[in-house]
């Protein structure tokens, strides 16, 4: 269970303080596929960033299971990002000089898995997300946007996280490919029993989500709805 209470994030700018996330509460059950829907600048990416411990909230708490993420120090944060969370980025964020397979192997390398084992799992994951074998040794520059995003999803699954955070996963894709990616995430949440929170402004995602949180100016504007 993911529980968020009174989460606040502010940014100081020349024109004053911006409340990017303003006193947000939410609860997500394990294995659910949840969407954060809102316009650009509404605060959904900032919220995801705090859920994934990429940035620190100014106030509030985030509990993943029994663990309060906001109280973790450096080593705990590294472990949390490595083992409990998987990130899918809008621009894929693959390491350009590594092959698709090596990109997927990276998180497993950070967790100390043996090379042969991580090679095998990376290949299985790429099969699972639908990247053909002949493309697994290609560098990201030689893959299409949809294929790169599949690699990004496989990388997010590498260490079997309980939570996958996807920030605009279809943002750089055409609508058909975007639909395929959303379907893939949905299927993974079902098959892997992984909680998936996807930030998007694509309303077509609604059909496949268990819950939708609508966000505006850093606050949920309606309660969760299914």
């Amino acid at each position: 269970m993911l529980t968020v209470n009174g989460l606040v994030k502010e940014f100081k700018t020349a024109s004053g303080t911006v409340h990017a996330v303003n006193d947000i509460d939410m609860q997500v059950e394990d294995g659910k596929f949840v969407a954060l829907v809102g316009e650009s600048g509404s605060g959904k990416s900032t919220l995801l960033s705090m859920l994934g411990a990429l940035s620190k909230p100014d106030a509030g708490s985030i509990h993943v299971g029994d663990e309060d993420v906001t109280r973790l120090h450096d080593h705990g944060l590294i472990k949390y990002r490595r083992d409990r969370v998987g990130f899918v980025f809008q621009n894929y964020s693959l390491v350009p000089n590594l092959s698709a397979l090596e990109n997927v192997m990276l998180p497993m390398e950070f967790s100390g898995m043996a090379r042969a084992e991580r090679n095998k799992r990376a290949s299985e994951l790429l099969d699972q997300v639908g990247l053909p074998n002949d493309k697994q040794q290609r560098k990201p520059g030689r893959l299409s946007g949809g294929e790169q995003q599949r690699v990004g999803i496989a990388r997010a699954l590498a260490n079997r996280p309980s939570l996958i955070l996807a920030d605009e996963p279809t943002g750089n894709l055409d609508s058909k490919t975007g639909q395929n990616i959303i379907s893939l995430l949905h299927d993974l949440s079902q098959s892997e029993k992984t909680t998936i929170i996807a930030a998007t402004h694509d309303l077509s995602i609604e059909e496949q989500c268990d819950h939708i949180y609508r966000i505006k100016d850093g606050q949920f504007i309606q309660g969760d709805e299914s």
């Binding site: 994934g52 990429l54 590294i78 990002r81 490595r82 350009p96 990276l106 260490n159």
Partner: protein, 451 residues
């Protein structure tokens, strides 16, 4: 790829330059040690202004000798006493040295006031033995009393061969003498012969050849015997001081000057090698500063390149942190990249160092050599031509300097390469760890936002 190549080339030039300077520094240091070693450890102390025996100044005493013996860097002090035998009553020996045209010229211009038939103090401007009214000029005979056989500095010679007979038991008070070959020949002396000195019969125990005409016209006796016969007991013309090492000759010289003040003149072979050492020190100084400069510039170049790379890859670092990379992992990755750059640069740099070390060293040396030659010659330059060796004069100083700078070869050895490798690794680690550390401390979200 082009950028990586450029980085490696820039680093190779810096590392190559550092290696060249390191090699030059080693070569010059070796030569400085060699020049210092050739100086020997002896220092001559004479009464001020008189070079011992031609009048003026006060002779040295046992107290002076003891005072010098007690100095820190002095290991031995040898006394010598010299007596110029100028009259027939001093000795039965005839001088072995021909007065030459210069002496005869002075003789004819003398006023003869010093009396006929003696070899006593010369008239003003003339040599000893000056005579007038057709009197034949004779040169004095120099008798030197020595305390040990080893030192011959007071005779101005480096070595002494006993051509016949035995050596001198210098510590005794026997009335014996070693006679120079020229003096022996002039007086038909052989080992076992006798002559008189201050009305005392002296036995010749050996004939020596010093390779120096002036010395070969003199005789050596035990110092105590000569002083007793000349009724000059306790008097010392010069002291030959031995310093504890050639490196400390200058310090010992300064100590003696401080202890004795203006009462004495202190000389050593170091004086003639000062110019050479000065040239070498000049090259060493250039090499040292250039080495420091090239190391600093290599570090700065690498630091700036790594800073640029780290900033460019800020987003990638953010992603790596987001997927679980630790700060140490990220730092290790950048230090490894930096090490790879630097080692590739070092590889090319070693080749550059090997190829260019001798030409650069020669350039440094020729520049320093021409400067020191000009400084040494000055407005009154003289002496023998380059390459000629001879005592005294600026020419000999220039010659010594040039000799010290000749055939200065840069040699690469394992020790040098080891120093180079350590410096390279230090450059790589220092140049990359600071930028990598600074970026690794940033939160992933901040890094991923980019600039």
């Amino acid at each position: 790829m082009i950028r990586t190549g450029s980085v490696v080339v820039i680093l190779a030039i810096s590392i190559g330059l550092a290696l060249i300077m390191l090699i030059s520094l080693f070569a010059v240091n070796d030569r400085i040690d060699s020049v210092r070693g050739s100086v020997g450890t002896t220092i001559t102390v004479s009464p001020a202004g008189i070079r011992g025996f031609q009048g003026g100044g006060e002779l040295l005493t046992q107290a002076d000798s003891d005072k010098i013996s007690s100095l820190d860097h002095v290991t031995a002090v040898e006394q010598s006493f010299q007596k110029m035998l100028t009259t027939d009553t001093d000795t039965s020996l005839k001088s072995g040295i021909d007065p030459g045209s210069f002496g005869k010229q002075n003789n004819s211009s003398g006023n003869g006031s010093s009396g006929a038939g003696n070899r006593d103090v010369p008239p003003a401007g003339g040599m000893p033995g000056g005579a007038s009214g057709g009197q034949q000029m004779t040169m004095p005979v120099m008798a030197t009393g020595v305390a040990q056989n080893a030192s011959l500095q007071s005779l101005g010679v480096d070595k002494l061969d006993i051509t016949s007979g035995d050596g001198l038991a210098a510590a005794t008070e026997d009335n014996v003498a070693l006679v120079g070959s020229t003096l022996a020949s002039k007086n038909n002396l052989q080992p076992g012969s006798t002559f008189t000195l201050f009305n005392t019969q002296i036995k010749v125990i050996g004939i020596f050849d010093s390779g120096n005409q002036f010395s070969n016209g003199s005789l050596l006796m035990p110092i105590n015997s000569l002083r007793k016969l000349a009724t000059s007991e306790g008097q010392i013309n010069s002291l030959v001081v031995t310093a504890d090492s050639s490196a400390n000759v200058q310090i010992a010289t300064d100590e003696i000057k401080d202890a004795m003040g203006s009462k004495v003149d202190v000389t050593s072979q170091l004086d003639s090698t000062k110019q050479a050492l000065s040239s070498l020190e000049g090259v060493k100084s250039i090499a040292r500063y250039s080495l420091a400069g090239s190391l600093v510039s290599a570090s700065a170049i690498l630091f700036l390149i790594m800073l640029m790379i780290v900033r460019e890859r800020r987003q990638e670092i953010g992603v790596l942190k987001a997927i679980g990379a630790s700060n140490i992992k990220i730092m290790k990755q950048f230090i490894t990249e930096s090490l790879t750059f630097t080692l590739l640069g070092a590889l090319v740099g070693v080749v550059l160092g090997v190829v260019f070390s001798n030409p650069v060293l020669n350039m440094l040396v020729s520049s320093s050599s021409s400067q020191s030659s000009q400084a040494a010659q000055g407005p009154f330059a003289g002496g023998p031509p380059p390459g000629a060796r001879g005592p005294g004069g600026p020419g000999s100083v220039v010659s010594a300097s040039q000799s010290a700078l000749e055939n200065l070869n840069a040699v690469i050895n394992y020790q040098l390469l080891l120093y180079g490798l350590v410096a390279t690794i230090l450059i790589a680690v220092i140049g990359s760890s600071i930028p990598a550390w600074s970026i690794s401390k940033i939160r992933p979200a901040e890094a991923m936002r980019g600039e």
